[in-house]
């Protein structure tokens, strides 16, 4: 019984994910300990120099900095597991509360961006693949190359400034509106950041779609389907796209994961109070407890998204299951 559980692929993946997360925690902990200075000088700034040795020792024992590193690490782990992610003195709020407020915002932005990316990327990829090396393929590939090469911050900055000057359209300048208090303003505020991110992600999705469709199209079963008279539209959707879906889903999952933590720049430009911006603010204000816990939360969501993607393509493609 135990053996069958231990041999189960899903269980194995879960165990590997847990091990990775532990490694991530160690990595984050060590990385932030490498920063010159400590919590005390970060909080007090230059005043830290005026502390008497006795005051410093008292503060060190208050923050647990006099404990060996390994004890500090496990007490941090213990705190995390009981939901204590630390306290942000600038925001006067617990990191858990800040994170719980920021995560849904980032999640919404990620979902909208992925939607844009799929709507642009998949049809464009199929269009490109429908006639390789033709004009329309060139067009599709150019859009793909532009998506890969135009930095998100450049596109975002230009869109923001130009739309604001020319049309006076700047919903992001009005203070952030949460989805459930003011859905209309919220969607307006999410529009530009989601477009910018979606354009960037459409490129890898377009390229993946193109390659996958080209690969599937040369398979025997497509020729058979065409020979038995399946109408072209149905052939494209039911036979070609359906079978090209595994790499596309993998790529989408990967990009979704990146979005949950990689949207730092776009969140910052459009003042979207998401999780990426929280890390950036933490870094700028030297609140390392905040950075440490938030980065770990992001890595956790990233690992979970990847795990779900893995499980999802087991559902899509029965061949992976065996």
């Amino acid at each position: 019984m135990l053996r069958t559980i231990a041999r189960n692929r899903v269980v194995k993946r879960l165990a590997a994910a847990l091990l990775t997360l532990f490694g991530v925690a160690v990595f984050v902990f060590v990385m932030l300990r490498a920063i010159p200075g400590d919590q005390i000088s970060a909080n007090l700034g230059t005043e830290a120099a005026a502390l008497t040795p006795a005051q410093r020792a008292a503060l060190e024992s208050y923050y647990g900095l006099d404990q060996p590193l390994i004890t500090q690490f496990f007490s941090w782990m213990g705190n995390l597991l009981t939901g204590n992610l630390g306290f942000s003195s600038r925001a006067q709020a617990s990191v858990l509360d800040l994170t719980l407020a920021a995560l849904p915002v980032t999640f919404e932005l990620a979902v909208l961006s992925i939607l844009f990316a799929l709507v642009i990327g998949i049809p464009l990829g199929m269009l490109s693949a429908s006639k390789p090396d033709s004009l329309r393929d060139g067009l599709g590939q150019t859009v793909g190359l532009a998506g890969l090469s135009v930095p998100a911050f450049l596109l975002a900055t230009m869109l923001l400034s130009l739309l604001a000057t020319w049309f006076g359209f700047n919903p992001n300048g009005r203070g952030f509106a949460p989805l459930f208090t003011d859905p209309l303003l919220n969607l307006q505020q999410m529009l530009l950041p989601a477009l910018v991110l979606g354009f960037g992600i459409a490129a890898p999705i377009m390229r993946t779609t193109r390659t996958a469709v080209l690969e599937v199209r040369s398979d025997d079963f497509i020729r058979t389907a065409r020979a038995k008279g399946v109408p072209p539209r149905r052939l494209q959707l039911r036979h070609v796209l359906r079978n090209a879906l595994v790499p596309i889903v993998t790529m989408t999952g990967l990009q979704f994961g990146y979005l949950l933590g990689g949207a730092v720049v776009v969140e910052q430009i459009f003042s979207v109070p998401g999780i990426g911006r929280q890390v950036l603010l933490g870094i700028q204000q030297k609140e390392y407890a905040l950075v440490q816990s938030t980065v770990l939360v992001i890595a956790l969501t990233f690992v979970i998204v990847n795990l779900l993607t893995d499980l999802l393509y087991r559902v899509i493609d029965p061949r992976v299951r065996s």
Binding site: T20, V24, S149, P151, F153, T157, Y258, Q268, V303
Partner: protein, 295 residues
């Protein structure tokens, strides 16, 4: 984290360097990439050599925000600095950081991938574990966190970017090495009693060079983008050293008054990344036999 198992890809037959270059030149995207990257490299070399018309850092307040003209090819910024000279210096700075970062990542990652794939066993699991941990971070976030840890200068930024790309090289190299270690000539070398490390360097490494070259080119384009994003966020090379991301950040408020201050560095970043992407695509087409005749 996602274990995309590498499909066994066997390296192409080795051809002469000039033959490779010729077929790269013949592929449309390869040629365009070579030209774009070549021109930008020339500019950055000229900037390193001090051949630019103006100093990239010296301020000249009377001539601030001048539009492009014969004197200032791309105009001047809000401190009267020549945008053309600054952009050239910015490209040089970006290129330097990207090249050092990718070189570091390529060497460490290739060695890691070689050892993991060739020796298997404990080293494979250990290296695999480290790879998984580094892959658990969104790339830009990891670079950001690392860049905030060190005192910032161009070298520490390069190291921060390099750490992000090490696991990619490990994974790209390990797959083909797994296939190569089972191939007859490697087995033959083993049976003649050569040392494992010697076989790895002499018989396995030369056969994965094309895979590494393609990965290096594509990584360079990401490294340029990452460096620009970091400096845009204020976590790149500290001012007054010219850096493309920071120039774009500073030009935000000037876009409608003096559009050249943003368009010039913006266009150059895009051009550099497009060039590197085209070059990478071209190299992949010419070096990877699976792609030949398909595009």
């Amino acid at each position: 984290m996602t274990d995309i198992s590498q499909t066994a890809q066997l390296p192409p037959a080795t051809r002469s360097g000039s033959g490779r270059l010729r077929s790269l030149w013949r592929s449309g995207s390869g040629r365009a990439g070579l030209i774009i990257v070549g021109v930008l490299v020339l500019f950055s070399l000229a900037s390193f050599a001090g051949l630019m018309p103006y100093d990239a850092i010296a301020q000249d307040p009377p001539s601030r925000l001048l539009p492009p003209s014969g004197d200032h090819l791309l105009g001047t910024d809000q401190f009267g600095r020549d945008v053309f000279s600054r952009v050239a210096a910015g490209v040089a700075n970006s290129a330097l950081i990207a090249v050092v970062a990718v070189a570091f990542a390529a060497v460490v990652g290739t060695l890691g991938g070689l050892v993991a794939g060739f020796y298997r066993g404990f080293s494979d699991s250990a290296i695999g574990g480290v790879t998984n941990v580094l892959f658990a971070f969104p790339p830009l976030l990891l670079a950001l966190a690392l860049a905030s840890v060190f005192t910032r200068n161009w070298f520490t930024i390069a190291v921060a970017i390099a750490v992000v790309y090490v696991p990619i090289f490990i994974r790209v190299v390990r797959g083909p090495v797994l296939t190569l270690r089972e191939i007859e000539y490697v087995k033959a070398a083993t049976s003649t009693g050569q040392r494992k490390s010697a076989i790895m360097m002499r018989h396995v490494l030369p056969n994965i060079t094309s895979i590494i070259i393609v990965q290096v080119t594509l990584s360079l384009s990401w490294a340029v983008l990452t460096e620009a994003s970091l400096s845009f966020l204020g976590l790149g090379t500290p001012p007054p050293a010219p850096s493309l991301g920071l120039m774009i950040y500073d030009a935000r408020a000037l876009l409608t008054v003096a559009p050249w201050t943003m368009i010039a560095p913006g266009a150059v970043v895009v051009l550099l990344v497009v060039g590197l992407n085209l070059l990478g695509d071209g190299l992949r087409d010419t070096l990877d036999p699976r792609n030949r005749g398909r595009r």
